[in-house]
Subunit: 412 residues, 2 copies
């Protein structure tokens, strides 16, 4: 298929589960859509080598279930697990809720098979942990959003399943204390911290006030709330999780805390954190997925909040995110949103990121939506190297053209 | 410097700490040696962002000390820590003893500055955990052994320091049991397993028999010995380490065990494992650094051992390695070793790896020494993509030419 399109000079857009958020898979009239939805075979779950081998169109949740049935864990987990495909997750380097412990797709991929622009099948189905035999080519294709090749099979690293988990919600008086709690709990849990999800007050208020279904486990007046999750063994003689957060409460680093007592309460707390759809009751939302240094994050959010309030009285901003990984999601509601206001809002959010050496995309990728802003996070020299790679691997520009960057504008 | 060499078409060989084992830094008469030994400044240890920023010539041990002084851990550790440089470790994707928990240099590098063949300074000094803003270019330079650019600065991810460690030596009756113990202890320690170092009987015998300094903590007649290390907290109420290995002893998966009671005993056990130099008392050694699927490893070592014994009666083979990562080191002594016998020995060890989809280099790289064998682990299509990258980034071939692969032989 790719050889034919390459020979004919026809552009090809790869489709996985279509759960992307940056319009990377939007196709135009003259482009061929290549869907991997029928390549969804789980080929092997190897419990000695601890790898999953699967076709790229396999759905994440089905792969997770197959791995769980074999007594192991496929560590990467994202909200779109019911439709996202493993190949699409590799192509976009998906992250999700447990990056702080398990990393992103890049950190969990052992090998892949990828079809190059001209139809060459590149078999790099490595199953080994360590392989310094020449360049590790798979990294070219991870996170390059289908612009350098189409992933057709994957080998994913599997982990032992933790025996159980502890989840708590803690209230924190200021952003500096958020940073302190992160280090304290990460240190105490020693490799077992699974998630550290921060909710700014406005977000917490929105997801715990009717018509939202969740009841507030803690009062709504604190500046910051953190959902902390860690794995624990069967052994309950020692409890560093409760000990550490309890000590933080004694010293005032944490000002309130609610510990989940069972799986039902854990699930309810995560449902509250994940109830982003709730924000839509205030009107249409613009969502941002950015990454900052932790030390810059508190100030950045307040700056953006006040700039937006000044520009559009009545606008609202909710902030939340995977702060353990420096990843902030902003949801913004601007009255009478139109294309011009959207462009103005984008500039307002993205432009300050340049000086902070921050990322316009933490995990969602660039696609078409963020292409105008790539230069905020990457230098002209970096974008030129990206173009050189594209030129080397897809000289006719047939793979997902116009995504991530434009090939034409050399020397930007 | 690179711009001048590029203009003049002069080859440049980058020198770090010169601790490589595959002749990657051997320079010929017409090549310029570019040493980074004076670029060794530690620029910052950021305890909030948990990163180290340093020049590429910084020595690993000095960087480790600076990080420890700030209360954090620089996780990658290798035997050559006293002279290996951070830039060289990035260029070769160094691994070491604690890959099972912390990964290799690739997994710990957040960003870098690299000078391209033509002198362009590529500033990718990212400090963020998550950054999906376009291609993640740093991966091109990690493990490519200086053939695509010269690393000049690095940003490394730092971890919380574990409160303490437990170390034990266990004896195991067969290789299948080695695999079982690995899964049991990894599961029980839940993210805290630091090392899983296997010694075959011959190796254990050699390093625990005078004139070797170490006394044997366990009798010398068992088939396999495993040094197991895990981190533990201050809390000794629960001890999954001793509980799990003790239970393995009860079921016969482990047949003998010695638990280190203090730091001195831990250090002594590691010294025994690291006393590879001891093997030189039997004559000159040829060392191999290969990576296999765990399920293939026991059989492979026995096959090589018997092939060598058949070919050269009186030859000896010692096997040991980071089995938690699938990485086996073989040390071989062949009587009257000469170039022809060396070539024959290489063929005997490497050739069977092709069918097993194994790696001729787990962590040492290819350099010049293993170049003839790259094709065992990488397909012609893969080597062609490597050549395309080399052509795109260093069209004149001035950077470390003739290392890893030859640029001339296209279409191999």
């Amino acid at each position: 298929m790719l050889a034919a399109c390459h020979a004919a000079g026809v552009s090809v857009i790869a489709h996985g589960g279509l759960t992307g958020l940056v319009h990377g898979t939007d196709a135009r009239a003259h482009e061929v859509i290549l869907s991997l939805e029928r390549m969804q075979r789980i080929e092997a779950v190897d419990t000695t080598q601890r790898v999953l081998v699967a076709e790229a169109g396999a759905i994440l949740e089905q792969a997770q279930d197959a791995v769980a049935a074999a007594g192991l864990l496929l560590p990467v987990d994202i909200g779109a697990r019911g439709s996202a495909t493993l190949g699409g997750m590799v192509a976009t380097n998906a992250g999700g809720n447990r990056v702080i412990r398990y990393g992103m797709m890049r950190d969990n991929l052992r090998g892949l098979e990828v079809v190059l622009a001209d139809g060459t099948v590149l078999d790099s189905m490595n199953t080994l942990v360590k392989n310094n035999s020449g360049y590790d080519l798979k990294h070219l294709f991870i996170g390059s959003e289908g612009t350098l090749g189409i992933v057709t099979r994957v080998v994913l690293h599997l982990c032992e399943r933790p025996a159980g988990r502890r989840v708590a919600l803690v209230a924190v008086p200021d952003f500096a204390a958020v940073c302190t709690v992160l280090r304290q709990i990460d240190h105490a849990m020693d490799g077992r911290l699974l998630a550290f999800e921060v909710m700014w007050q406005d977000f917490y208020h929105a997801v715990t006030t009717p018509p939202a279904l969740a009841r507030a486990p803690l009062p709504q007046h604190y500046p910051f709330y953190v959902l902390v999750e860690a794995s624990v063994g069967d052994d309950r003689r020692a409890d560093p999780f409760e000990d550490t957060l309890g000590a933080a409460l004694d010293t005032g680093i944490v000002v309130d805390a609610a510990f989940c007592k069972n799986e039902r309460e854990c699930a309810a707390l995560w449902a509250l954190r994940d109830d982003v759809a709730q924000l839509r009751r205030f009107g249409p939302l613009v969502a941002y997925d950015i990454s900052l240094r932790l030390a810059d994050t508190g100030h950045f959010v307040e700056t953006v909040r006040s700039m937006i309030a000044e520009r559009w009285p009545g606008a609202r901003l909710w902030a939340f995110g995977h702060l353990g990984d420096g990843n902030v999601h902003l949801a913004v509601n601007v009255p009478d949103l139109d294309a011009q206001r959207r462009a103005e809002l984008d500039a307002l959010v993205y432009a300050p990121l340049r000086a902070l050496r921050s990322a316009v995309s933490a995990e969602h990728g660039i696609g078409i939506e963020k292409k105008p802003w790539l230069g905020v996070s990457r230098s002209p020299a970096e974008v030129n190297v990206m173009r050189s790679l594209k030129q080397a691997l897809d000289p006719k520009g047939v793979l997902n053209p116009g995504r991530v960057f434009d090939i034409e504008q050399r020397g930007v």
